[in-house]
Amino acid sequence: MTATETTPQISVMVIDDEPQIQRLLTIMLESQGYRVTAANSGKDGLAATAQRRHDLIVLDLGLPDVSGLSVLKQIREWTQTPVIILTVQDAEAEKIEALDSGADDYVTKPFNSGELLARLRAALRRADKGKVEEPVLQFGNLTINLAARRVTRNGEPVKLTATEYALLKLFVQHAGKVLTHRHLLREVWGPDQENETQYLRVYVQRLRDKLEADPESPAFFLTEPGVGYRFMEP
């Protein structure tokens, strides 16, 4: 037996009503060694996810029978399996709602295979780490010691205000994931401040000024236009 045969395959559930996109996803994912189960409606998809466990779900939001969002919400009622949403351009409101309803990430159609696979791997990696809380996180030249509440850049300590630190902590604990404006504002400033986007703009800029090598072309704190921010591991 060779090593590849003994490695348990990662199984991905694809829920997409468009046969063409469904075939395309299946080919792309299978060529990378994933085992793919496909469903062409939200109903079938829900039934299949309930039947057996999958490591990841790719869900198209434009399903004919039930809206993709309600499928997502139903999935989230009983499992934390990572869900990647497929969406179209100009659908920011939909993306935000999907992320706030528990989607892990989104890919916009037309997608390129590199981007899709990278998002998939990142989501699987985050799910794999699970709830293990590491006290010290390292991102390039940044070190964040959550236990000691200490942040250093190139070994030099960086002074952060309480709000700046709270925001940074939220970002690094969800590294690689898109966080919506609403989510960030609720967590850092409180539920009654969830529409005060201006706070977020100012504080993200301050974090960029203090932590980015070039604040004018950020490598850590990336803007997802109209949706939120993503803290990227460079």
Binding site: E18, N112, H181, Y199, V204, P225
Partner: protein, 362 residues
Amino acid sequence: MSLIENRLTSLVGRPWRQYVLAFGLVCLVSTFDLWFQKWTGYQALALVYLLAVVLLALVVGRGATFFGATLSALGWNFLFVPPRFSFHVDNLYDKIMLTTYFVVALTVGTLTARLRTQHETEMKTKLLQESERLGRTLLNSVSHELRTPIAAIISAANGLHSSGALAPAQEQLVTEIESAGARLNRVVQSLLSAARLQAGQLKPKLDWCDVRDVVRAALRESSKVMAGHPTETKIAPGLRLVRMDSVLMQQALGNLLTNAAIHTPPKTAVEISARMEGTDLLLEVSDRGPGLPDREMERVFDLFHRAPNARPGGTGLGLAIVKGFIEVQGGRVHAANRAGGGAVFSIFLPASESPNLHEETA
């Protein structure tokens, strides 16, 4: 009831017909009353007239109702109130009766007519909403039907490309498919945006934005089209947050960048700048290309308009979309030639309001 009402309304649709109907109805009721008065007093006949006025108000406009009410008051007075066959009224009791009748007929008639108008307006609004909803559904489904195959083409070509198993000639062919797909995608996207703008379906989502973020996103999105054009970004230091729809603004800037890339020779530098101009935010995309002919200045933002000397590759949609996207946000656009050659496209966005910032005390 509503069917009869509709029939009657269409029958008496034109104003003069409404007056004829009012006149006819009053004559009819008068004839009936002349026959009916044998069994009753003249006061009770007023109620029959009143009933006619209410019925009239159900089918005709306010003017004809007013006319009918007046005519019936006169008719009752002339035909039945003693002394009969004269407009003269003798006793106080009849004078009060007549005045009261007139006021009641007018009030009831006007109120009924107003109620009907209200009902009609509601129906019209409902119909309008329904047709808007239908239009939106249609646009969404067309959008879905166009975008899905394009997405499949682009993604499949891209998958083939990145499989790394292609001979050089095949690789070139796949690259052609990819770039043609991307171009088709841009055109469809533009058509859909233009359709949404024309249908008035675009509702901007205004929120505080960092202009630097928006400019960066626009540059990133148009990086493929802009390849071969060096870009320079000039953002005024300390530029404050401005309320805008970041997605629309990013697409507007992206369209201006694409426009500059298409209409200038390769390697022409493109500059993007942002600063405050009075209470407006001023964003400019400028190039050192051939510039615009004088008589084109006013028309470059028109839908489907293309300058006669324009290079191939444009659709005549890009700048119209820029104008639409900026105007729904309350801003305006402007095109001009630069001193020293080249064109400059400006976006002005009102920005007198400044954000309420809650500062930390720590």
